[in-house]
Protein backbone atom coordinates (compact mmCIF):
# COMPACT_ATOMS: atom_id res chain seq x y z
CA UNK A 1 0.00 0.00 0.00
CA UNK A 2 1.22 3.50 -0.77
CA UNK A 3 1.26 6.22 1.84
CA UNK A 4 -0.83 8.43 -0.39
CA UNK A 5 -3.75 9.96 1.55
CA UNK A 6 -7.18 8.49 0.87
CA UNK A 7 -9.80 10.50 -0.97
CA UNK A 8 -12.16 12.16 1.50
CA UNK A 9 -15.01 10.14 2.96
CA UNK A 10 -17.61 12.52 4.37
CA UNK A 11 -18.74 12.23 7.97
CA UNK A 12 -22.55 12.04 8.03
CA UNK A 13 -24.43 14.46 10.25
CA UNK A 14 -27.95 14.19 11.67
CA UNK A 15 -29.34 15.84 8.56
CA UNK A 16 -27.45 13.71 6.06
CA UNK A 17 -27.35 10.27 7.64
CA UNK A 18 -30.34 9.00 5.63
CA UNK A 19 -28.71 10.22 2.42
CA UNK A 20 -25.46 8.37 3.06
CA UNK A 21 -27.31 5.24 4.18
CA UNK A 22 -29.06 5.36 0.82
CA UNK A 23 -25.78 5.70 -1.06
CA UNK A 24 -24.39 2.73 0.79
CA UNK A 25 -27.45 0.74 -0.24
CA UNK A 26 -26.89 1.80 -3.85
CA UNK A 27 -29.71 4.32 -4.07
CA UNK A 28 -29.62 8.09 -4.45
CA UNK A 29 -32.09 9.71 -2.08
CA UNK A 30 -33.71 13.12 -2.12
CA UNK A 31 -35.82 14.83 0.51
CA UNK A 32 -39.45 15.67 -0.22
CA UNK A 33 -41.51 17.92 2.04
CA UNK A 34 -44.75 16.27 3.16
CA UNK A 35 -46.37 19.71 3.50
CA UNK A 36 -45.42 21.57 0.30
CA UNK A 37 -43.87 18.81 -1.86
CA UNK A 38 -40.61 20.80 -2.25
CA UNK A 39 -37.72 18.53 -3.24
CA UNK A 40 -34.22 19.26 -1.96
CA UNK A 41 -30.56 18.30 -1.76
CA UNK A 42 -28.26 18.70 0.10
CA UNK A 43 -30.39 17.27 2.91
CA UNK A 44 -31.52 19.61 5.66
CA UNK A 45 -33.52 19.53 8.89
CA UNK A 46 -35.92 22.08 7.41
CA UNK A 47 -37.68 22.35 4.08
CA UNK A 48 -36.11 25.09 1.95
CA UNK A 49 -39.55 25.77 0.49
CA UNK A 50 -41.78 26.23 3.55
CA UNK A 51 -39.39 25.69 6.52
CA UNK A 52 -41.54 22.76 7.59
CA UNK A 53 -39.88 19.84 9.37
CA UNK A 54 -41.76 16.90 7.89
CA UNK A 55 -39.24 15.79 5.29
CA UNK A 56 -39.40 12.30 3.82
CA UNK A 57 -36.64 10.37 2.10
CA UNK A 58 -37.46 9.28 -1.39
CA UNK A 59 -35.45 7.23 -3.84
CA UNK A 60 -34.46 9.41 -6.81
CA UNK A 61 -34.36 8.08 -10.35
CA UNK A 62 -30.58 8.45 -10.28
CA UNK A 63 -30.79 10.13 -13.66
CA UNK A 64 -29.95 13.67 -14.57
CA UNK A 65 -28.44 16.09 -17.02
CA UNK A 66 -25.03 17.81 -16.95
CA UNK A 67 -25.48 21.57 -16.22
CA UNK A 68 -21.78 22.22 -16.61
CA UNK A 69 -18.47 20.44 -16.29
CA UNK A 70 -14.72 20.93 -16.09
CA UNK A 71 -11.59 18.85 -15.99
CA UNK A 72 -9.25 18.97 -13.03
CA UNK A 73 -5.73 19.12 -14.43
CA UNK A 74 -3.94 20.08 -11.23
CA UNK A 75 -5.44 18.54 -8.08
CA UNK A 76 -4.70 20.38 -4.85
CA UNK A 77 -4.93 17.25 -2.74
CA UNK A 78 -2.39 14.44 -3.25
CA UNK A 79 -5.22 11.92 -2.93
CA UNK A 80 -6.51 12.93 -6.34
CA UNK A 81 -3.20 13.12 -8.22
CA UNK A 82 -3.36 9.57 -9.67
CA UNK A 83 -6.81 10.32 -11.14
CA UNK A 84 -5.83 13.53 -12.97
CA UNK A 85 -7.04 14.63 -15.41
CA UNK A 86 -10.56 13.86 -14.20
CA UNK A 87 -13.98 15.31 -14.95
CA UNK A 88 -16.19 17.03 -12.38
CA UNK A 89 -19.65 18.32 -13.17
CA UNK A 90 -22.86 19.80 -11.89
CA UNK A 91 -25.68 17.35 -12.46
CA UNK A 92 -29.31 18.44 -12.35
CA UNK A 93 -31.27 15.44 -11.21
CA UNK A 94 -34.51 14.58 -12.97
CA UNK A 95 -36.25 15.49 -9.69
CA UNK A 96 -34.78 19.02 -9.70
CA UNK A 97 -31.88 19.45 -7.28
CA UNK A 98 -28.31 19.89 -8.54
CA UNK A 99 -25.35 17.91 -7.21
CA UNK A 100 -21.66 18.43 -7.80
CA UNK A 101 -20.13 15.06 -8.65
CA UNK A 102 -17.40 13.23 -10.49
CA UNK A 103 -18.36 12.44 -14.07
CA UNK A 104 -16.98 9.07 -15.06
CA UNK A 105 -16.02 9.83 -18.62
CA UNK A 106 -13.04 11.04 -20.59
CA UNK A 107 -12.48 14.81 -20.76
CA UNK A 108 -13.42 14.86 -24.45
CA UNK A 109 -16.72 13.06 -23.76
CA UNK A 110 -18.08 15.62 -21.29
CA UNK A 111 -20.73 18.03 -22.51
CA UNK A 112 -23.51 20.24 -21.21
CA UNK A 113 -26.87 18.58 -21.58
CA UNK A 114 -25.43 15.07 -21.54
CA UNK A 115 -27.71 12.55 -19.85
CA UNK A 116 -26.12 10.76 -16.93
CA UNK A 117 -26.91 8.06 -14.43
CA UNK A 118 -25.66 7.63 -10.87
CA UNK A 119 -23.24 5.02 -9.64
CA UNK A 120 -21.36 4.83 -6.37
CA UNK A 121 -17.70 4.89 -5.44
CA UNK A 122 -16.87 3.25 -2.09
CA UNK A 123 -14.62 5.45 0.04
CA UNK A 124 -15.01 3.49 3.27
CA UNK A 125 -17.15 0.71 4.70
CA UNK A 126 -19.86 3.23 5.43
CA UNK A 127 -19.44 5.91 2.76
CA UNK A 128 -20.06 5.39 -0.91
CA UNK A 129 -20.06 8.69 -2.83
CA UNK A 130 -22.35 9.24 -5.82
CA UNK A 131 -20.69 9.71 -9.22
CA UNK A 132 -22.30 9.78 -12.65
CA UNK A 133 -21.63 7.96 -15.90
CA UNK A 134 -22.86 8.96 -19.33
CA UNK A 135 -26.00 7.16 -20.42
Amino acid sequence: MSSRPAKPAPTPTGETRGYWEGCRAGELRIQRCARCAHVQLPPRRFCGGCLGEDLRWERASGRGVVRSWSVVRIPLSAAFVPDAPYVVGLVRLAEGPTLMAALRCNPDEASIGAEVEVEFEPRSEEIHVPCFRLR
Partner: protein, 391 residues
Protein backbone atom coordinates in the same frame (compact mmCIF):
# COMPACT_ATOMS: atom_id res chain seq x y z
CA UNK B 1 -39.50 51.84 0.60
CA UNK B 2 -37.19 54.77 0.02
CA UNK B 3 -34.42 53.81 -2.33
CA UNK B 4 -32.41 57.01 -2.41
CA UNK B 5 -31.56 57.50 1.24
CA UNK B 6 -27.83 57.00 0.81
CA UNK B 7 -27.41 58.90 -2.45
CA UNK B 8 -24.73 61.51 -1.94
CA UNK B 9 -24.80 61.01 1.83
CA UNK B 10 -21.19 59.91 2.18
CA UNK B 11 -17.92 60.33 0.34
CA UNK B 12 -14.61 58.56 0.11
CA UNK B 13 -12.01 61.05 1.28
CA UNK B 14 -8.88 58.97 1.54
CA UNK B 15 -7.36 55.97 -0.25
CA UNK B 16 -4.20 53.95 0.22
CA UNK B 17 -2.66 50.82 -1.29
CA UNK B 18 0.33 49.00 0.19
CA UNK B 19 3.00 47.54 -2.01
CA UNK B 20 1.71 44.32 -3.54
CA UNK B 21 3.21 41.05 -4.73
CA UNK B 22 5.59 39.10 -2.52
CA UNK B 23 6.01 40.77 0.86
CA UNK B 24 7.72 38.15 3.03
CA UNK B 25 7.38 38.50 6.77
CA UNK B 26 4.36 40.76 6.61
CA UNK B 27 1.05 39.59 8.09
CA UNK B 28 -2.53 40.73 7.66
CA UNK B 29 -2.68 43.03 10.69
CA UNK B 30 0.58 44.72 9.72
CA UNK B 31 -0.54 45.23 6.11
CA UNK B 32 -4.04 46.33 7.19
CA UNK B 33 -2.47 49.11 9.27
CA UNK B 34 0.02 49.98 6.51
CA UNK B 35 -2.88 50.54 4.09
CA UNK B 36 -4.83 52.39 6.79
CA UNK B 37 -1.97 54.79 7.51
CA UNK B 38 -1.67 55.58 3.79
CA UNK B 39 -5.41 56.25 3.48
CA UNK B 40 -5.39 58.46 6.57
CA UNK B 41 -2.43 60.48 5.24
CA UNK B 42 -4.21 60.84 1.93
CA UNK B 43 -7.30 62.12 3.74
CA UNK B 44 -5.27 64.43 5.96
CA UNK B 45 -6.80 62.82 9.04
CA UNK B 46 -5.29 61.63 12.32
CA UNK B 47 -6.13 58.13 13.51
CA UNK B 48 -7.99 59.63 16.49
CA UNK B 49 -10.48 61.18 14.10
CA UNK B 50 -11.66 57.72 13.03
CA UNK B 51 -14.67 56.51 15.00
CA UNK B 52 -15.65 53.54 12.83
CA UNK B 53 -13.52 50.62 11.63
CA UNK B 54 -14.16 47.73 9.24
CA UNK B 55 -11.59 45.05 8.38
CA UNK B 56 -11.74 41.65 6.71
CA UNK B 57 -10.33 38.55 8.31
CA UNK B 58 -7.11 36.91 7.18
CA UNK B 59 -7.25 33.56 5.39
CA UNK B 60 -3.63 32.91 6.30
CA UNK B 61 -3.90 33.71 9.99
CA UNK B 62 -7.53 34.19 11.00
CA UNK B 63 -8.26 36.07 14.22
CA UNK B 64 -11.37 35.73 16.35
CA UNK B 65 -11.73 39.53 16.55
CA UNK B 66 -9.74 40.82 13.60
CA UNK B 67 -11.06 44.39 13.54
CA UNK B 68 -10.66 44.77 17.29
CA UNK B 69 -7.10 43.47 17.00
CA UNK B 70 -6.35 46.02 14.30
CA UNK B 71 -7.88 48.75 16.50
CA UNK B 72 -5.83 47.62 19.47
CA UNK B 73 -2.65 47.55 17.41
CA UNK B 74 -3.34 51.03 16.01
CA UNK B 75 -4.30 52.19 19.51
CA UNK B 76 -7.69 53.51 18.48
CA UNK B 77 -11.03 52.88 20.20
CA UNK B 78 -13.77 53.10 17.56
CA UNK B 79 -17.41 53.24 18.62
CA UNK B 80 -18.45 51.17 15.59
CA UNK B 81 -16.25 48.22 14.64
CA UNK B 82 -16.65 45.03 12.65
CA UNK B 83 -14.87 42.27 10.76
CA UNK B 84 -16.83 41.70 7.58
CA UNK B 85 -16.96 38.53 5.51
CA UNK B 86 -18.58 38.43 2.08
CA UNK B 87 -15.66 36.94 0.18
CA UNK B 88 -14.71 39.07 -2.79
CA UNK B 89 -17.68 41.36 -2.14
CA UNK B 90 -16.41 42.24 1.33
CA UNK B 91 -14.77 45.57 0.46
CA UNK B 92 -17.81 47.07 -1.21
CA UNK B 93 -20.27 45.65 1.29
CA UNK B 94 -18.11 47.39 3.89
CA UNK B 95 -18.71 50.70 2.11
CA UNK B 96 -22.44 49.96 2.12
CA UNK B 97 -22.48 49.23 5.85
CA UNK B 98 -20.25 52.22 6.59
CA UNK B 99 -22.51 54.54 4.59
CA UNK B 100 -25.56 53.29 6.49
CA UNK B 101 -23.77 53.71 9.81
CA UNK B 102 -22.70 57.27 8.97
CA UNK B 103 -26.12 58.21 7.59
CA UNK B 104 -27.82 57.01 10.78
CA UNK B 105 -25.32 58.68 13.07
CA UNK B 106 -23.73 55.52 14.47
CA UNK B 107 -20.37 57.06 13.64
CA UNK B 108 -18.96 59.82 11.47
CA UNK B 109 -15.71 58.71 9.85
CA UNK B 110 -15.04 55.08 8.98
CA UNK B 111 -11.75 53.48 8.09
CA UNK B 112 -12.15 50.38 5.91
CA UNK B 113 -8.91 48.49 5.58
CA UNK B 114 -8.33 45.03 4.22
CA UNK B 115 -5.12 43.06 3.71
CA UNK B 116 -3.70 39.56 3.62
CA UNK B 117 -0.52 37.74 2.76
CA UNK B 118 -1.76 34.84 0.64
CA UNK B 119 1.35 34.81 -1.55
CA UNK B 120 4.02 34.23 1.06
CA UNK B 121 1.89 33.23 4.05
CA UNK B 122 0.09 30.21 2.63
CA UNK B 123 1.96 26.96 2.23
CA UNK B 124 0.62 24.58 -0.40
CA UNK B 125 -0.87 22.48 2.39
CA UNK B 126 -2.54 25.48 4.00
CA UNK B 127 -3.81 26.65 0.61
CA UNK B 128 -5.24 23.20 -0.03
CA UNK B 129 -6.90 23.06 3.38
CA UNK B 130 -8.19 26.60 2.95
CA UNK B 131 -9.65 25.87 -0.48
CA UNK B 132 -11.27 22.65 0.63
CA UNK B 133 -12.83 24.54 3.53
CA UNK B 134 -14.75 26.62 0.97
CA UNK B 135 -16.21 23.44 -0.53
CA UNK B 136 -19.13 21.75 1.20
CA UNK B 137 -17.43 18.96 3.20
CA UNK B 138 -19.98 16.30 2.28
CA UNK B 139 -21.28 17.33 -1.12
CA UNK B 140 -18.34 18.98 -2.89
CA UNK B 141 -15.06 18.15 -1.15
CA UNK B 142 -15.28 14.40 -2.01
CA UNK B 143 -14.77 15.22 -5.69
CA UNK B 144 -11.42 17.04 -5.45
CA UNK B 145 -12.44 20.14 -7.39
CA UNK B 146 -10.23 23.18 -6.67
CA UNK B 147 -11.79 26.67 -6.87
CA UNK B 148 -11.02 27.25 -10.60
CA UNK B 149 -13.34 24.35 -11.44
CA UNK B 150 -16.34 26.28 -10.15
CA UNK B 151 -15.52 29.19 -12.44
CA UNK B 152 -14.83 26.79 -15.29
CA UNK B 153 -18.46 25.70 -14.85
CA UNK B 154 -19.42 29.33 -15.48
CA UNK B 155 -17.14 29.57 -18.52
CA UNK B 156 -18.41 26.36 -20.10
CA UNK B 157 -22.03 27.29 -19.44
CA UNK B 158 -21.52 30.74 -20.98
CA UNK B 159 -19.79 29.28 -24.02
CA UNK B 160 -22.50 26.65 -24.42
CA UNK B 161 -25.44 29.00 -24.00
CA UNK B 162 -24.23 32.06 -25.90
CA UNK B 163 -21.48 30.84 -28.20
CA UNK B 164 -18.84 32.78 -26.29
CA UNK B 165 -15.44 31.83 -27.65
CA UNK B 166 -12.24 30.84 -25.96
CA UNK B 167 -10.61 33.84 -27.67
CA UNK B 168 -13.17 36.21 -26.17
CA UNK B 169 -12.40 34.96 -22.68
CA UNK B 170 -8.71 35.41 -23.43
CA UNK B 171 -9.33 38.98 -24.56
CA UNK B 172 -10.46 39.84 -21.02
CA UNK B 173 -7.01 38.90 -19.73
CA UNK B 174 -5.24 40.65 -22.59
CA UNK B 175 -7.08 43.97 -22.16
CA UNK B 176 -6.63 43.86 -18.41
CA UNK B 177 -2.90 43.25 -18.79
CA UNK B 178 -2.63 46.23 -21.11
CA UNK B 179 -4.08 48.38 -18.34
CA UNK B 180 -1.78 46.89 -15.72
CA UNK B 181 1.18 47.90 -17.87
CA UNK B 182 0.17 51.51 -17.19
CA UNK B 183 0.03 51.04 -13.40
CA UNK B 184 3.42 51.38 -11.77
CA UNK B 185 2.52 49.09 -8.84
CA UNK B 186 0.83 46.28 -10.80
CA UNK B 187 2.40 42.85 -10.36
CA UNK B 188 2.16 41.70 -13.98
CA UNK B 189 3.01 44.37 -16.52
CA UNK B 190 4.45 42.48 -19.49
CA UNK B 191 2.04 42.56 -22.42
CA UNK B 192 0.26 39.35 -23.44
CA UNK B 193 -1.70 38.44 -26.54
CA UNK B 194 -4.66 36.14 -27.03
CA UNK B 195 -2.30 33.43 -28.31
CA UNK B 196 -0.37 33.58 -25.01
CA UNK B 197 -3.54 32.97 -23.02
CA UNK B 198 -4.52 30.07 -25.29
CA UNK B 199 -1.07 28.53 -24.91
CA UNK B 200 -0.89 28.90 -21.12
CA UNK B 201 -1.07 25.87 -18.88
CA UNK B 202 -4.51 24.29 -18.70
CA UNK B 203 -5.83 24.57 -15.12
CA UNK B 204 -9.50 23.54 -15.27
CA UNK B 205 -10.94 23.22 -18.77
CA UNK B 206 -11.47 25.62 -20.44
CA UNK B 207 -9.60 27.94 -18.06
CA UNK B 208 -5.86 28.36 -18.46
CA UNK B 209 -3.34 29.95 -16.16
CA UNK B 210 -3.78 33.44 -17.63
CA UNK B 211 -7.57 33.23 -17.12
CA UNK B 212 -6.92 32.97 -13.39
CA UNK B 213 -6.19 35.83 -11.03
CA UNK B 214 -2.95 36.25 -9.13
CA UNK B 215 -2.18 35.21 -5.57
CA UNK B 216 -0.65 38.15 -3.75
CA UNK B 217 0.32 39.85 -0.52
CA UNK B 218 -1.01 43.33 -0.01
CA UNK B 219 -3.67 45.58 1.40
CA UNK B 220 -5.77 48.57 0.56
CA UNK B 221 -7.87 51.05 2.53
CA UNK B 222 -10.37 53.86 2.18
CA UNK B 223 -11.74 56.49 4.56
CA UNK B 224 -15.46 57.21 4.30
CA UNK B 225 -17.20 60.15 5.97
CA UNK B 226 -20.33 62.24 5.70
CA UNK B 227 -20.65 64.42 2.61
CA UNK B 228 -20.83 67.43 4.91
CA UNK B 229 -17.56 66.63 6.64
CA UNK B 230 -15.93 65.64 3.34
CA UNK B 231 -16.17 69.19 2.05
CA UNK B 232 -13.71 70.41 4.71
CA UNK B 233 -11.06 67.79 3.98
CA UNK B 234 -8.01 67.92 1.80
CA UNK B 235 -8.89 65.60 -1.10
CA UNK B 236 -11.66 66.11 -3.63
CA UNK B 237 -14.45 63.89 -2.27
CA UNK B 238 -15.73 60.96 -4.30
CA UNK B 239 -19.41 60.50 -3.49
CA UNK B 240 -21.36 57.28 -3.12
CA UNK B 241 -24.33 57.71 -5.44
CA UNK B 242 -25.82 54.25 -5.40
CA UNK B 243 -25.29 50.89 -3.77
CA UNK B 244 -26.95 47.50 -3.89
CA UNK B 245 -26.28 43.98 -2.68
CA UNK B 246 -27.59 40.53 -3.52
CA UNK B 247 -26.71 37.23 -1.92
CA UNK B 248 -28.11 34.29 -3.84
CA UNK B 249 -26.42 31.14 -2.52
CA UNK B 250 -23.17 29.89 -1.07
CA UNK B 251 -22.10 26.77 -2.99
CA UNK B 252 -21.86 26.68 -6.77
CA UNK B 253 -24.11 23.62 -6.95
CA UNK B 254 -26.90 25.75 -5.46
CA UNK B 255 -26.43 28.71 -7.84
CA UNK B 256 -29.79 29.57 -9.43
CA UNK B 257 -27.94 30.12 -12.72
CA UNK B 258 -24.38 29.73 -13.96
CA UNK B 259 -24.64 32.58 -16.49
CA UNK B 260 -26.79 35.20 -14.74
CA UNK B 261 -25.90 36.40 -11.26
CA UNK B 262 -27.09 38.49 -8.33
CA UNK B 263 -25.36 41.42 -10.05
CA UNK B 264 -28.65 41.96 -11.90
CA UNK B 265 -30.32 42.79 -8.60
CA UNK B 266 -27.42 44.60 -6.89
CA UNK B 267 -26.89 46.69 -10.02
CA UNK B 268 -30.58 47.56 -10.38
CA UNK B 269 -30.68 48.71 -6.76
CA UNK B 270 -27.59 50.85 -7.21
CA UNK B 271 -28.85 52.46 -10.43
CA UNK B 272 -32.25 53.17 -8.85
CA UNK B 273 -30.67 54.80 -5.81
CA UNK B 274 -28.36 56.91 -7.96
CA UNK B 275 -30.98 57.78 -10.55
CA UNK B 276 -28.50 56.62 -13.18
CA UNK B 277 -28.44 54.05 -15.95
CA UNK B 278 -25.58 51.98 -17.39
CA UNK B 279 -25.23 54.56 -20.17
CA UNK B 280 -24.20 57.18 -17.60
CA UNK B 281 -21.21 55.14 -16.45
CA UNK B 282 -17.80 56.26 -17.74
CA UNK B 283 -15.71 53.34 -16.51
CA UNK B 284 -16.08 50.12 -14.52
CA UNK B 285 -13.99 48.14 -12.09
CA UNK B 286 -15.38 44.60 -12.10
CA UNK B 287 -14.41 41.55 -10.11
CA UNK B 288 -12.15 39.45 -12.31
CA UNK B 289 -11.05 36.45 -10.25
CA UNK B 290 -11.43 34.46 -13.49
CA UNK B 291 -12.07 35.82 -17.00
CA UNK B 292 -15.66 34.52 -17.48
CA UNK B 293 -16.88 36.47 -14.44
CA UNK B 294 -16.19 39.77 -16.22
CA UNK B 295 -18.51 38.78 -19.07
CA UNK B 296 -21.32 37.84 -16.68
CA UNK B 297 -20.89 41.14 -14.81
CA UNK B 298 -20.82 43.30 -17.95
CA UNK B 299 -24.11 41.71 -18.99
CA UNK B 300 -25.80 41.66 -15.58
CA UNK B 301 -24.90 45.29 -14.87
CA UNK B 302 -26.51 46.32 -18.15
CA UNK B 303 -23.44 47.36 -20.14
CA UNK B 304 -24.36 44.93 -22.91
CA UNK B 305 -27.15 42.46 -23.58
CA UNK B 306 -27.18 39.02 -21.95
CA UNK B 307 -24.78 36.76 -23.80
CA UNK B 308 -23.04 39.66 -25.57
CA UNK B 309 -20.19 40.00 -23.06
CA UNK B 310 -17.72 38.16 -25.29
CA UNK B 311 -18.28 40.28 -28.42
CA UNK B 312 -18.38 43.43 -26.24
CA UNK B 313 -14.89 42.75 -24.89
CA UNK B 314 -13.61 41.56 -28.27
CA UNK B 315 -14.76 44.84 -29.88
CA UNK B 316 -12.55 46.81 -27.50
CA UNK B 317 -15.26 48.49 -25.43
CA UNK B 318 -13.56 47.58 -22.15
CA UNK B 319 -10.12 48.88 -23.15
CA UNK B 320 -8.85 52.36 -22.26
CA UNK B 321 -10.18 54.56 -25.04
CA UNK B 322 -13.23 52.30 -25.44
CA UNK B 323 -16.79 53.10 -24.40
CA UNK B 324 -16.39 51.48 -20.97
CA UNK B 325 -12.77 51.17 -19.83
CA UNK B 326 -12.81 48.30 -17.36
CA UNK B 327 -10.33 47.28 -14.69
CA UNK B 328 -8.11 50.24 -15.44
CA UNK B 329 -5.59 49.24 -12.74
CA UNK B 330 -5.11 45.73 -14.05
CA UNK B 331 -7.65 43.97 -11.85
CA UNK B 332 -7.18 40.76 -9.93
CA UNK B 333 -5.80 39.21 -13.10
CA UNK B 334 -2.75 41.46 -13.41
CA UNK B 335 -2.58 44.04 -10.60
CA UNK B 336 -2.87 41.83 -7.51
CA UNK B 337 -5.20 39.50 -5.63
CA UNK B 338 -4.59 39.03 -1.92
CA UNK B 339 -7.97 37.28 -1.36
CA UNK B 340 -10.78 39.15 0.39
CA UNK B 341 -8.94 42.50 0.04
CA UNK B 342 -8.68 42.10 -3.73
CA UNK B 343 -11.65 44.25 -4.72
CA UNK B 344 -10.50 47.07 -2.43
CA UNK B 345 -7.82 47.92 -5.00
CA UNK B 346 -10.60 48.35 -7.57
CA UNK B 347 -12.27 50.82 -5.22
CA UNK B 348 -9.13 52.88 -4.62
CA UNK B 349 -8.55 52.85 -8.40
CA UNK B 350 -12.08 54.16 -9.00
CA UNK B 351 -11.45 57.00 -6.55
CA UNK B 352 -8.12 57.85 -8.21
CA UNK B 353 -9.86 57.85 -11.62
CA UNK B 354 -12.62 60.16 -10.37
CA UNK B 355 -10.01 62.50 -8.92
CA UNK B 356 -8.46 62.61 -12.38
CA UNK B 357 -5.18 61.43 -10.87
CA UNK B 358 -4.64 58.14 -12.73
CA UNK B 359 -1.84 59.43 -14.93
CA UNK B 360 -1.22 57.43 -18.09
CA UNK B 361 -4.24 55.23 -17.47
CA UNK B 362 -6.65 58.09 -16.78
CA UNK B 363 -10.10 57.66 -18.33
CA UNK B 364 -10.94 60.88 -20.16
CA UNK B 365 -13.86 62.73 -18.63
CA UNK B 366 -14.39 60.20 -15.81
CA UNK B 367 -17.42 61.47 -13.88
CA UNK B 368 -19.26 58.27 -12.90
CA UNK B 369 -17.67 54.93 -12.07
CA UNK B 370 -19.27 51.57 -11.41
CA UNK B 371 -17.46 49.12 -9.19
CA UNK B 372 -18.79 45.63 -8.63
CA UNK B 373 -17.51 42.69 -6.66
CA UNK B 374 -18.71 39.17 -6.12
CA UNK B 375 -17.72 36.61 -3.52
CA UNK B 376 -18.01 32.85 -3.35
CA UNK B 377 -18.92 31.57 -6.82
CA UNK B 378 -21.30 34.24 -8.14
CA UNK B 379 -22.67 34.13 -4.57
CA UNK B 380 -22.41 37.55 -2.87
CA UNK B 381 -22.68 40.71 -4.92
CA UNK B 382 -22.20 44.38 -4.18
CA UNK B 383 -22.40 47.21 -6.71
CA UNK B 384 -21.30 50.78 -5.99
CA UNK B 385 -21.86 53.80 -8.20
CA UNK B 386 -19.43 56.61 -7.45
CA UNK B 387 -19.26 60.16 -8.74
CA UNK B 388 -17.43 63.45 -8.49
CA UNK B 389 -20.60 65.29 -7.55
CA UNK B 390 -23.04 64.35 -4.76
CA UNK B 391 -25.99 63.95 -7.13
Amino acid sequence: METNTLRGAVAIVGVGDTEVGKLPGRGSVDLTIDAAARALRDAGLEKGQIDGLVTSNSMVDPHMYHAELVAETMEIQPRWCMTLAAGGATSFAAVHHAAAAIATGLCETVLISSADNLRTGLTREKASAQQSSTADPQFEAPYGAPVPVSYAFVANAHMHEFGTTREQLAQVAVTTRRHAALHPAAEKRDPIEVADVLAAKLIADPLRLLDCSLVSDGGSAVVVTSAERARDLRSAPVYLLGVGEAHTHEHVSQAPSLVTSGAVSSGAQAYAMAGLSPRDVDFAELYDCFTPVVLVELEDLGFCAKGEGGPFVEAGHTALGGSLPTNTHGGLLSHCHPGNPGSMFALTEAVVQLRGAAGERQVDGAEIGCVHAQGGVLSSHCTLLLGKEPS
